[in-house]
């Protein structure tokens, strides 16, 4: 299971990459592996205002529908349009292909997220 050291993680198996005031958000290798082949991604709209932990989309695999949550509060500034036609990018490289970019309301939200070590522990317990 790939867990990059330069990212932060959520309990719902999302990863967060901090870039100044904004964060890139995607799903982890653990998540894509468990879901199997991803065939559809439903994303929020640009300018949507999101609370921390709120549902922002849906990721569908062949057999199941999974909810995607936003780990931090903020405004959606970008969605990854490539995922509309090529949802399988999330399986191919879950860390290279972010799903949304969020301008954070409050940097303190990052304190609620898991370190790579804590996330690794979470995954081990989930197995």
């Amino acid at each position: 299971m790939n867990i990059p050291k330069d990212l932060l993680y959520s309990n719902d198996h999302e990863w967060v990459r901090v870039d100044g005031e904004q964060v890139y958000v995607g799903i982890t290798d653990f998540a894509q592996h468990n879901m199997g082949d991803i065939v559809y991604v439903e994303m929020p709209e640009v300018d949507d205002e999101i609370e921390a932990g709120a549902q922002i989309g849906v990721i569908e695999s062949v057999k199941a529908v999974s909810t995607m949550f936003c780990p931090v509060a903020g405004t959606i500034t970008e969605i990854n349009a490539d995922l509309e036609d090529s949802p399988e990018l999330l399986n191919e490289d879950p860390y290279k292909n972010h799903i949304v970019i969020v301008k954070m309301n409050n940097q303190d939200d990052l304190g609620q997220l898991l370190s790579p070590e804590a996330y690794e522990k979470l995954c081990a317990e989930a197995e």
């Binding site: 199997g36 082949d37 065939v39 559809y40 439903e42 849906v58 569908e60 062949v62 057999k63 529908v65 509309e84």
Partner: protein, 369 residues
């Protein structure tokens, strides 16, 4: 509650199948990945463990009449070693199960039924069985494997003592030796490709599994239940609990071809005759998505905000690269070209009714003439 394991469980562990609870059975949903496995079967060959399916022997004088009475299709015109697809119906026309009927002789029929319905079907058969007929649930005596795909015959031939060309579509040979092991082999399957279903002693199932994989090399792979479902769905093959159930008749499900209303009587015939005369109020339609979204089983279908039916099976078709589905809806809205809405997470997404939406089956339809 402990999950049941098939005789091939050790193979699933060996080949790293992702094991899930499938109706009380511990079976793999996938090995390498559903789409990869699906494509493998369409292009080369795949090997399935279908041992969870049920097998019921019906034996005795009058077995032919009895099996005919249970089944919608014409049983009496079967030749020995022929197989037919049919349905067991309730008196009101709803479906008990769909099944394959293998004719060994006029006094011996071998019924192959859905795993999830085995106990129910057996009880139904016993309930209707005349005292001179012996019906036995022999599911524990058989493991079942399926080899499906354009290369299935070429691969299986390598370990078969019988010329497989002699087993025509919907026929079987009860005496085929695969690597020296006696098996029942039929040219049947649930994928829309050419292929065979193999019934074998549970003790030798693992051996046969390995022999087939060895014979196929890179041209075959183990296939899980996820791809089994996507393959049958893409080929528009019905699934009990979705296209048919105790409240959906074969006529509503567009399976009239397998229901011989002008033949011998069978349980449910009168109700189905009546339904045919009055035209079923609901009917199955094929559709593809116009808007973005994946239709799934039991999603509501609406028209102008009013519910007109529901999706029976739906999903992404890897071969066709489209989101498609089957729905059962009020007949008045079922014309080809009509646009309707699929409710996906409380939002209507447009879909269009069409014909020829699904994958054209490549099963070998040569019959023994």
């Amino acid at each position: 509650m402990e999950l049941k394991q098939t005789p091939l469980f050790s193979m699933h562990q060996k080949y790293k199948g992702k094991l899930i609870d499938f109706g009380g059975w511990e079976l793999p949903v996938q090995y390498e990945g559903i789409i990869k496995e699906h494509t493998m079967v369409r292009e080369k060959a795949g090997l399935f463990d279908v041992s969870h399916m049920g097998e019921i022997d019906v034996k005795g004088k009058g077995a032919e009449d009895f099996v005919q009475y249970l089944t919608t299709n014409n049983i009496k015109k079967l030749a020995e070693k022929q197989v037919v697809y049919g349905l067991l119906c309730y008196p009101h026309g709803g479906v008990v199960d769909d099944l394959l009927v293998y004719k060994f002789s006029e006094e011996h029929y071998f019924l192959v039924v859905n795993a999830s319905n085995t106990d129910k079907d057996f009880a139904w058969i016993k309930q209707n069985c005349p005292p001179v007929i012996e019906a036995t649930n022999v599911s524990d005596q058989y493991a079942q494997l399926a080899i499906q795909g354009p290369k299935a015959q070429e691969i299986l031939q390598k370990i078969s003592d019988t010329d497989l060309e002699s087993i025509k579509f919907f026929f079987f040979n009860p005496d085929v030796k695969l690597s020296g092991v006696r098996c029942i082999v039929s040219r049947t399957g649930y994928t829309g490709e050419d292929g065979f279903e193999i019934y074998v002693n549970p003790e030798q199932a693992g051996f046969i599994w390995e022999e087939i994989l060895k014979a196929g090399g890179p041209d075959i792979a183990p296939i899980g239940l996820g791809a089994r479902d996507s393959l049958r769905f893409e080929a528009k093959l019905p699934l009990y609990g979705q296209e048919i159930d105790q409240d959906i008749t074969p006529l509503e499900a567009k399976l009239g071809f397998f229901v011989k209303l002008d033949n011998d009587d069978f349980i449910g015939r009168d109700a189905l005759k009546q339904q045919k005369e009055n035209k079923p109020a609901r009917t199955q339609v094929e559709f593809y998505m116009l808007g973005r979204g994946i239709p799934r089983s039991h999603y509501d279908v609406t028209k102008d905000g009013k519910k007109i039916g529901w999706v029976t099976s739906g999903g992404y078709s890897p071969t066709l690269d489209k989101n498609i589905g089957l729905a059962i809806i009020d007949r008045q809205y079922s014309n080809v070209g009509e646009v309707m809405d699929i409710m996906i997470r409380d939002k209507p997404v447009q879909a269009q009714i069409a014909q020829g939406v699904f994958y054209k089956k490549k099963s070998k339809t040569k019959t023994a003439q």
